[in-house]
Symmetry: C2
Subunit: 321 residues, 2 copies
Amino acid sequence: MMTDRPPILVVALAEGDDPGIWIEAFRARLPGFKIMSLSENPEAERVRYVASWRHPPGSLTRFDQLAALFSLGAGVDHLLADKDLPAGVPIVRVVDPDLTNRMSEWVMLHVLLHHRQQRLYDYQQFEKIWADDIRQPAAKDVRIGIMGLGVLGQDAAHKLKMMGFDVAGWSRTPKALPGIETFAGETSLGDFLGRTHILVSLLPLTPATKGILDAGLFRQLARDGHCGPILLNAGRGGLQNEADIVAALENGILRAATLDVFEQEPLPKHSELWHHPALTITPHNAAISAPEAIADFIADQIEAAEQGGKLDHVVDRSTQY
Amino acid sequence: MMTDRPPILVVALAEGDDPGIWIEAFRARLPGFKIMSLSENPEAERVRYVASWRHPPGSLTRFDQLAALFSLGAGVDHLLADKDLPAGVPIVRVVDPDLTNRMSEWVMLHVLLHHRQQRLYDYQQFEKIWADDIRQPAAKDVRIGIMGLGVLGQDAAHKLKMMGFDVAGWSRTPKALPGIETFAGETSLGDFLGRTHILVSLLPLTPATKGILDAGLFRQLARDGHCGPILLNAGRGGLQNEADIVAALENGILRAATLDVFEQEPLPKHSELWHHPALTITPHNAAISAPEAIADFIADQIEAAEQGGKLDHVVDRSTQY
């Protein structure tokens, strides 16, 4: 009988990505479910949940009994890019303390790398130069601006403030954070940028944010900082105009940048970003969470939903985050 | 009349160091004092305070009316190295939030640099390799051990814990820190080292700590960490055996290290430390404080002492910190 057979959770990854580690993590947490990959061709009527990271567009259309669709990493733009997504199904963002911690590690590392001029000291070590910068500013005199004040932006803001930095945040809709100056909406973006020495982008990629990190924005950053203006982007590559970043580094509109995300990933070998002396590049691993931690978060949600509970962190399809 | 002439504060630096910035900072804060450098040959009977950073040994002996002797930076080993220091004069450590913050910035930067394997990603960027380490541990699975739990060690411990690391501390005498496991004394050093993946030395240099960072100590560090054992030393060069560090890096007893301090400073051009691939070197600038901040701290203490108050942070000459 159909009813005796367990419901299915499908792990849907990009073609070529190995779902093994995810399947194992979900099996350990959801014994009442059958866990399958897309390529195992699961029976559509038994598929109740899909956990996706960059599934091929159109590959979920036949699952018309879905109760929810989960993202396996930060951001849901990869899900919403699929125009044939089953309609009306709740899309759930992952909010996992492990992922949040890892993102804040990356932000903290690269803020400090620039603030403490580690690339200068790397160069000096190579040249056997013993010299320090007596004008090295204190953290309190360095103004950091975080774009995007979701769970990730709030955690990074809090930790940077605890290190003594002068932190402000910007978001589309107004948010109040204890001890952090916040700016909201298009009209206050200029004021926010005008005070910012180090800009940290943790924005979601939506139609409203696509290409937002461009020459016009860089020109509005504060130029009175000792080592700024500096750009960090760990949001999405689609937020940034890479030609503008290279030009801004060339003409001094930006002093340096660290990028974890790119217009095209993997970053192509021919990209001029690889060897720019003022650029640090990480391979979109700012916040790769442990599969076990993500599976835990999703399993908790599924267990609650199966008992009639409400799903948390459901995406608003109109704003796309 | 003698009594109409203001008392003198002497700024006593190593030969060749320019005292100008310090004299300016003290003049702004202590209008009731004459501020002079050693080379201006101040009248001994009017010299009430000395603020020193590596003054030439013997150069303070004639100041027999001293009320206190201040260090201009973290640590007092440079003062105590002068065997002809005026006897019985209180020696005062500098405890300045600006200096503490800067030291914690350095510790946080270099812990994260190793934890997040930034040197691997630097190499990959150079080689245009797009790859990440799926075994990258979470901070909670990385055990950091801080040697030295004074103001600097406590601040670093607190901030690293807030980033999610598993932090413990070791000190000569027992200390209780909220939420941080602490070890004390020689007998517990083995247990402390045995749990530690990343060792952070913020020890003072005393007869008891001289050369403590040696092969025998490195061999006791935990070897089950993903990127350890790792050594950070921002205490004093005299704590470390540099030949042992190089050997430990060669034979894998240490995986990597960041050193801010050296047996001889500036680090000589012929040192093999400069170009070791697993070593990051900073030029003893982990916590160079703004002269204005240090002058503030010392001026506050002098003003209190002049009104009959008690000096804070007086060094115990028997333990030398």
